[in-house]
């Protein structure tokens, strides 16, 4: 963990709002992405992200650095928030995958290359949404957020060995979903 971050945490634990704002700025985007890719809905992702940081602000006094980096602590809160969200909306996941197209990531679409990128992003986003929740966690944290094995293992409460096996399986499943346009077949039911 960076010295600067440790200092921010210590200050935020004393109720320093500026220090917490710095931590919020550092981690907001990645936590939001993590949640958005798991719930596939912008508004839900915003609500859950808000809940995560509210809980972090209220309980930062309980955080102690004991091998669990701050980012991993935040991911743990985020994971629990997503689990609670699906528990309380048991039938919502399928609906949200169908609705995912309404939550397109908006890039300037005039350039054909950018349009291709946008389509590619949508495709990979949908592929990630079709993975098992624990595989989603690994893929998002390892390949989108570039977290270390140590950080991901701490966030998921697994050993590094178990995490490497999970990562291998997650990539294999993602390849299967993306291979030969299977993703399109799975989502739209069309060839």
């Amino acid at each position: 963990m960076l010295e600067e971050e440790k200092q921010y945490i210590a200050q935020a634990q004393q109720g320093d709002k500026v220090a917490f704002s710095a931590l919020y700025g550092q981690h907001l985007s990645r936590i939001y992405r993590f949640i958005f890719l798991k719930v596939s809905d912008k508004e839900e992702a915003e609500d859950l992200t808000h809940e995560v940081f509210l809980s972090a602000w209220q309980n930062i006094g309980a955080y102690r650095y004991q091998g669990l980096p701050f980012s991993s602590w935040l991911y743990r809160i985020a994971r629990n928030a997503v689990i609670d969200f699906y528990r309380s909306n048991a039938n919502k996941k399928t609906v949200q995958i169908e609705m995912a197209s309404e939550n397109l990531i908006k890039l300037p679409a005039r350039d054909p290359d950018l349009l291709d990128t946008q389509m590619e992003i949508e495709k990979i986003k949908k592929a990630v949404a079709l993975l098992k929740p624990e595989y989603q966690d690994v893929i998002i944290m390892r390949f989108i957020e570039n977290l270390s094995y140590e950080e991901v293992a701490a966030a998921l409460g697994k050993s590094e060995g178990a995490l490497r096996i999970m990562q291998h399986r997650a990539l294999k499943e993602l390849k299967l979903i993306c291979h030969d346009g299977t993703i399109l077949k799975t989502i739209t039911g069309k060839a």
Binding site: L28, T49, I60, E120, I121, K123, I124
Partner: protein, 145 residues
């Protein structure tokens, strides 16, 4: 394929929350109060939740042991100067007590009947008004003693 997949995944980093949401959410979060995790609170909690206190543990266990032993002694070593308690646990003694009581009741009934019979006999014999209770008692004493 794997490399291509990883590159595609990296493109998902363009996903960002709206600036409006960032500001609004942070403002709301910082206006909420923090939970109290100060060292004093934690220490107080630790003290209450059981930091080991040998004296207290010894005292409680001694009281508990005394209570258990005294309840056992009450059950198995009842004092001999309480016959009612002993007899209440012995059916033969209960029967004996009941017999004694029956005898006493029948004696009482016998003397009551006797007094009435004497009263009637005296009335018949003398054709006089019935004697007073004092006279009957006197007569009764003469007969029984």
């Amino acid at each position: 394929m794997e490399q291509y997949l990883k590159q595609s995944l990296e493109k998902l980093r363009v996903i960002e929350p709206k600036a409006e949401f960032k500001e609004h959410s942070l403002m709301l979060i910082l206006s909420a109060p923090q939970n109290d995790f100060s060292p004093n609170a934690v220490q107080r909690l630790k003290y209450l939740m059981g930091a080991p206190k040998p004296g207290l543990i010894f005292g409680i266990s001694a009281i508990f042991t005394l209570l258990v032993l005294s309840s056992f002694s009450l059950l198995y070593f009842q004092p001999a100067d309480k016959p009612a308690l002993i007899s209440s646990l012995n059916p033969q003694a209960i029967e004996q007590e009941m017999e004694t009581l029956n005898i006493q009741f029948s004696q009482i009934r016998y003397y009551e009947n006797l007094a009435k019979k004497i009263e009637i006999a005296l009335q018949k014999a003398s054709n006089k008004p019935s004697p007073s209770e004092k006279q009957i008692e006197q007569f009764f004493n003469e007969i029984t003693l």
